[in-house]
Amino acid sequence: MYPAQFEYHSPKTLAEALALLEQSGEDGKAIAGSQSLVPMMKLRLVTPQHVIDLRKLPGFSGIRDTGGELQIGAMTTHREVENSALAREKLPILSEAAGNIGDRQVRNMGTIGGSLAHADPSADWPAVTLALDASVHIVGKKGERSVKIEDFIVGPLTTNLEPGELIFQVRVPLAAARTGSAYEKCPHPASRFAVVGVAAVLTLDGAGKVQSARVAVTGLGPKAARAQKLEAALIGKVPDAASLQAAAAFASDGIEVRADLTGSADYKAHLTMTYAMRALTKAAARAN
């Protein structure tokens, strides 16, 4: 596979990277872990004239605990998140989700920032970060800004990243006490992307009832979406099997589920409910 001709840049500072992005404008494309962009370039679905590699930028990689949140550098690989002691301790859902992305080669190369910037509607990170109420922290020539995931991802392969901007970090608020989270996905037999993936974050009150619930679904619609009816059904309930099951029935509510080669719309709705139940059950157990 032979991509169209392009010029490769490897900036060593953020200023240099931003300048290159500005100069190249529409013809430029930042490259992170290369797992989505390069296949598209090989198929000539995208033909950037300038490819700006972010791997050498300082400060773009690694996970930090600031007390209130985990700051995950955009260039942190899935594999690093999977193996991060910090993530495993503070928000194990992150490591779990990372460990089920693609295969090991993909995880060694692909990055969390790259995945979010690509905004594949079947990717795992959008659902997980959405459920965790995460933001992306963006840097650009005009300065820095933070955007909530639900506002950042606009649609399939579309984000609100402006030309000349880069994702610097993914910022995930640390969970309140008695919070449990889990991500469960049905991988596509070929691509290992999510046929459906459900991320659930549950916080219980002192009485053991659900105080807050954030549940996000990927794989079904044009972008990962909150299952709000499901969330609402959980509030104030003791998260036992019956209440979780009753809530999980709403997992695909409000999403137009379409049939494809993996199965009928009914099947995919059923699958969503099933994986929602699995994620909720795990999250509730962890919250307790």
Binding site: M1, Y2, P3, A4, Q5, K42, L43, R44, D103, C186, H188, P189, A190, S191, F193, L261, T262, G263, S264, D266, Y267, K268, H270, L271, T274
Partner: protein
């Protein structure tokens, strides 16, 4: 030289592996020639379209672009259509030109080619070639293409039917059904697959302006066949002026047997441009254009008497051949399929009819198993359905209908004669490994708990080791199916074996050396196996149909006998003894009764070339060429058992156990055979559970990449439990049967029968493959029992 251990039967590690797994292999794309140019193909994005115009002006203006060729130019220069290697009565063969002329008939068909100084430039230029298409309606599914009003793939074939073929005695079969106590009918879809060898098709064509010779490096499973057909039939060049070299090849599974347009185009173009031209398929091109496999829709029925004996079988199949008739396209759904529907059962009357249908899809041809997987799936599924219908245990039913051990050779009513077999022997061994009584308890407990645990049996037989040339010829083959081997002993007693077989993963450099080492009584290290070069191997039919061991290996054995005969003559002369008194043991020719009077094989080899002292009239040299033409196919058989569990909640299927007891006759290298069986089973399981090619109604391939065509991942497979029985084949001097395809042939129905057994408590009798979770869940839901989480 000390007497060495017999190599035949030893699990020797593959000699080629250190080279191949450390990046020292030599694949076509590794071959570098100065001045090489690169081809890029303009392919039809439509399944069916009239080519209105091709404008290559902009492409030709790009610096570094040497040429853009179209189908018209190629046809005008006298290039002929790609021939078909197996003809059937009244077959209609539409012209298949390497570059489409006027009309493109499947998505991915070559419409034009760009030759440029670099592969990148060639792709850039290809994007600038403007092709105007007038899109036509497409015929996609075989069963739709024969309906009135279907789009015509080729104007001259009004009903899209390429051939109608029958086998067996229709009157006898009809009579069996009239007198049947019970008839079982089933509609089967054996869906289309896409081969996907690791190495995609790759080629480098280079014309020598001085000699006029063209060398074509091509990852071909049969380089001599490529040379013969391309030179004599397509390009009209003398056969001796085309040399085809097929070096290390990364897998074939059938897909590298056939003559494809690309090698014809490159060989033609290099003669015009007098520059080497290279092309390696991108994976998406491989998905679109490597010959696909299977794609049958069948209605079958089995007649049974009151005791559960099979009395008749009627099979009616529509085989989708794709847009053109590929090299062996007509043979696969006929002589490699209809002849094997009897399975391992005594069936007095069989009738098979097959319609080969042209559609606007990628051509279909032999893919690992080729016809036999379709036949095995059919008969093994029918065996289960029939046992159920007559209320008998599936194993009891099989045993009752097995061809008895003492009936071999066994003539079936569908043309073939099985060479040897012991079907209950393999079944008994497999059941012992399974521990059937224990499994039955497990299954009963599982079912009580509402779990869907199922077991499937596939007591299979297949035909391989292609083939007796005379028989093949009478059935329509346009070539003989023997194999050649030259054994050349050098003056230092080192040996080079030139084989017409071709290794693209099978391990011939090891197994063939084992055969030669035993016969010549020398270390394997002193034997080199050479294959895949028409310039140095005398002739060869290549490797497919599990023929390398039984046919190619036998040719080596024969040449080794000739070497020994001649060497013995020389030794007797040197020892001043009667030839009849000379023995060959431990690498020494000795006089019977006087073991200290001997000449080593090395002494003899040296004298053969010194020629100072040879028997009168004996020519110098020590080399032998043999052609082995088998008297029959070989018929491996065995029992495969799959145990699966279906998750009610999602319809997912977990493979729990897999047992394979194969009878491959004598086994040259058990470790290599285990590897072939492993790979074959993975492919066959994959057809049942994951893999399926899918087109939309307009003929767009929906499964054109690794992102949506589900090849098995390593972690999808479980540890396999393998064993063997050994019933030597009388067909060849080695007693071997083919081992390359049994896994693929046997495993698909084993899994299918297991899935159906798992679903039996829900009253589900048959589903078509692949058993995707979505399909299984829908079936469970339709059965009204989907309330998950028992």
């Amino acid at each position: 030289m000390a007497t060495q251990e017999r190599m035949f039967g030893a699990s020797i590690k593959r000699r080629e592996d250190p080279r191949l797994i450390t990046g020292k292999g030599n694949y076509v794309d590794d071959v570098k020639l100065p001045g090489t140019t690169y081809a890029a193909f303009i392919r039809s994005p439509h399944a069916h379209a009239r080519i209105v115009s091709i404008d290559s002006g902009a492409a030709l203006k790009l610096p570094g672009v040497l040429a853009v060729y179209t189908g018209k130019e190629m046809a005008d220069s006298g290039v002929k259509p790609i021939p078909v290697g197996w003809l059937l009565p009244n077959i209609k063969i539409p012209a298949h030109m390497p570059l489409a002329v006027d009309r493109a008939r499947y998505m991915g068909e070559c419409v034009a080619v760009v030759i440029a100084e670099s592969p990148y430039l060639a792709k850039d230029a290809a994007e600038l070639v403007q092709v105007e298409y007038d899109v036509l309606p497409a015929a996609v599914e075989g069963i739709d293409a024969i309906k009135p009003g279907a789009a015509k793939v080729h104007d001259e074939i009004a009903d899209n039917v390429c051939f109608r073929w029958t086998l067996g005695d229709k009157a006898a079969a009809d009579a069996a059904f009239k007198g049947a106590a019970k008839v079982v009918k089933q509609h089967f879809v054996n869906h289309r697959l896409i081969p996907n060898a690791i190495e995609t098709r790759s080629m480098l064509a280079s014309a020598n302006p001085g000699t006029g010779e063209v060398t074509l490096w091509l990852n071909s499973q049969n380089p001599h066949v490529h040379r013969l057909l391309m030179a004599a039939f397509i390009l009209g060049m003398p056969e001796h002026k085309l040399r085809v070299i097929s070096p290390d090849v990364g897998g074939g599974f059938g897909s590298k047997i056939f003559i494809y347009p690309e090698e014809c185009i490159l060989t033609w173009a290099t003669r015009k441009l007098l520059r080497p031209i290279k092309w390696s398929a991108e994976r998406r091109e491989a998905f679109m254009t490597d010959a696909h496999g299977r794609d049958h829709v069948t209605d079958a029925e089995m007649a049974l008497d009151a005791s559960g004996r099979i009395t008749g079988l009627r099979v009616s199949t529509v085989a989708n051949l794709g847009a053109y008739v590929s090299l062996f396209g007509p043979a696969v759904p006929t002589y490699l399929y209809g002849t094997m529907v009897s399975g391992c059962y005594q069936i007095p009357a069989i009738h098979v009819d097959v319609a080969g249908v042209l559609t606007n899809t990628t051509p279909v041809d032999a893919y690992r198993g080729a016809g036999r997987p379709e036949a095995c799936y059919l008969i093994e599924r029918l065996a289960d359905l029939a046992a159920h219908a007559v209320g008998q245990d599936r194993l009891e039913f099989r045993r009752k209908n097995f061809i008895p051990k003492e009936s071999f050779p066994y003539q079936t009513p569908v043309a073939v004669m099985y060479d040897s077999g012991n079907y209950p022997g393999a079944l008994d061994k497999a059941l012992k490994i399974l521990d059937l009584p224990r499994f039955q308890v497990e299954q009963e407990e599982a079912r009580k708990a509402g779990r869907l645990l199922g077991i499937g049996y596939s007591t299979y037989v297949e035909a391989c080791g292609l083939a007796p040339s005379q028989v093949a010829g009478a059935l329509g083959a346009q070539a003989g199916l023997y194999e050649s081997a030259t054994v050349r002993v050098h003056p230092t007693a080192k040996v080079t074996v030139f084989t017409g077989s071709h290794s693209h993963g099978q391990g011939h450099e090891t197994t063939f050396a084992q055969i030669a080492a035993d016969e010549l009584q020398m270390p394997m290290e002193d034997i080199e196996i050479v294959h895949g070069d028409t310039g140095i191997v005398p002739f060869g039919m290549g490797s497919y149909g599990s023929r390398s061991g039984p046919v190619g290996g036998s040719a080596i054995f024969m040449s080794a006998q000739k070497i020994k005969e001649k060497a013995k003559k020389i030794a007797a002369h040197l020892l001043e003894a009667n030839e009849a008194d000379v023995t060959f043991e431990g690498g020494k020719f000795a006089v019977k009764g006087s073991p200290d009077r001997f000449k080593t094989f090395g002494d003899v080899a040296l004298m053969a070339y010194l020629a100072h002292n040879l028997p009168k009239g004996l020519e110098p040299g020590l080399e032998a060429l043999s052609f082995f033409d088998p008297g029959n196919f070989v018929f491996p058989f065995g029992t495969h058992i799959a145990v699966v569990e279906i998750l009610r909640e999602t319809g997912e299927i977990k493979l729990v156990r897999y047992i394979a007891v194969d009878d491959l006759g004598r086994v040259i290298n058990p470790m290599i055979v285990d590897g072939m069986v492993h790979g074959g089973i993975a492919q066959g399981v994959s057809q049942a559970l994951w893999e399926a090619a899918s087109y939309d109604e307009s003929g767009q391939l929906l499964t054109g990449s690794m992102m949506n065509y589900a090849l098995p991942h390593a972690h999808d497979m479980i540890s396999l439990e393998l064993d063997r029985t050994e019933t030597p084949s009388p067909v060849n001097p080695l007693g071997v049967k083919g081992a390359g395809e049994t896994g693929t042939i046997a495993s698909t129905p084993a899994v299918a029968n297991a899935v159906m057994d798992a679903l039996a408590p829900l009253g589900i009798k048959h589903l078509d493959m692949p058993f995707s979770p979505g399909r299984v869940w829908e079936a469970m839901r339709a059965a009204g029992r989907t309330q998950g989480g028992i």
